[in-house]
Symmetry: C2
Subunit: 195 residues, 2 copies
């Protein structure tokens, strides 16, 4: 397995991104192929998993965003506030309302005004909701497992660790605020990130 990295470049199998980056080299010689390659692949993979999820959960009568919402809710033990979901799902507040409304119509969640803080709303997974989520659940994990399964456990750990270092940099709002530049509104784009 790890032997693969010792192959010569000629015999190493190429993926779509290799071609993509190669096409760009002459136009933008200054960019690092490995940076571009890694970023492109992450984007592609994310999209791919999204599509698979979409079509996978469709067999259970759910749409991707519906499943994701149920999933987020289940991750909080079946009870959460819209704000929690907004944070977990990285969504605009308005979107959460829309999703919950649709799910409520289908009988997958119930919204009840919180009694202790009446600004809040408690969202709860119904039995039907939990069931739908459960049924669709396996399908989703399978593709991730299948893809990441081509790596050895050690490599998977490596990958996850490398990404963590990158993400830590991303979560750091401003690594080196030189203060000499006003640095235009980084407000929502950065602070909303952790949420």
């Amino acid at each position: 397995m790890t032997r693969a990295t010792h192959r010569t470049a000629a015999e190493r199998p190429r993926d779509w991104t290799d071609g993509h980056v190669e096409r760009w080299r002459p136009v933008l010689p200054h960019l690092d192929p490995d940076v571009e390659g890694a970023v492109t692949r992450m984007s592609k993979l994310t999209r791919h998993l999204g599509r698979v999820r979409e079509q996978g959960v469709a067999d259970y009568g759910l749409q991707k965003h519906e499943f994701d919402t149920l999933h987020g809710l289940a991750g909080r033990g079946g009870r959460a506030t819209p704000s929690d979901l907004r944070a977990d799902l990285n969504l605009a507040p308005a979107s959460v309302t829309g999703r919950l409304e649709a799910l409520e119509r289908r009988g997958f969640v119930v919204r009840t005004p919180s009694s202790d803080d009446r600004r809040r709303v408690d969202v709860e997974l119904t039995e039907a909701g939990r069931l739908a989520w459960r049924r669709a659940l396996d399908v989703v994990g399978h593709e991730e497992q299948r893809l990441l399964g081509v790596l050895t456990p050690v490599e998977r750990r490596q990958l996850s660790d490398l990404l963590r270092r990158v993400l830590l940099a991303a979560e750091q709002p401003v690594p080196e605020a030189p203060a000499d530049r006003p640095r235009p509104r980084t407000d929502r784009a950065e602070t909303g990130w952790h949420g």
Copy 2:
């Protein structure tokens, strides 16, 4: 670099995803934390870069999708067909039409019916378009470089290589159809992928 993995868990800095995965462990003990961690981080990072791009190019009067379209066009040397862009940008045909129309209104591209094959349309970057693209370009690469820059060159290569192996698996429509399960329509989700 592997030195970092030898830190004790206690002193290794944690990112958002660590908390996320940890929250899920009790609910779904069967999933591999490294798979989940890697996938989550890629998704997060992709989203993050998207937001940064959004707000970065806004300073040049562009929206993310506008820039991306110009970028794709520039990557083809300034000339392409809608189909090319559809493939490169991973978009539905209808979306390409919409984007190009908006860009044409702004004078960034020109669409002319191809003369040799009159089903086709030639899309060409205007001087104004190329200029807008050029101006916004640096801003975009910077964040990628900043984030991936926390890794050493060797690590970046490693990351890219690991991802290539994963992506190769993704591009493989179905590696091992077990045939014991009917495996519902994988049609569009998989074949449309390379496009």
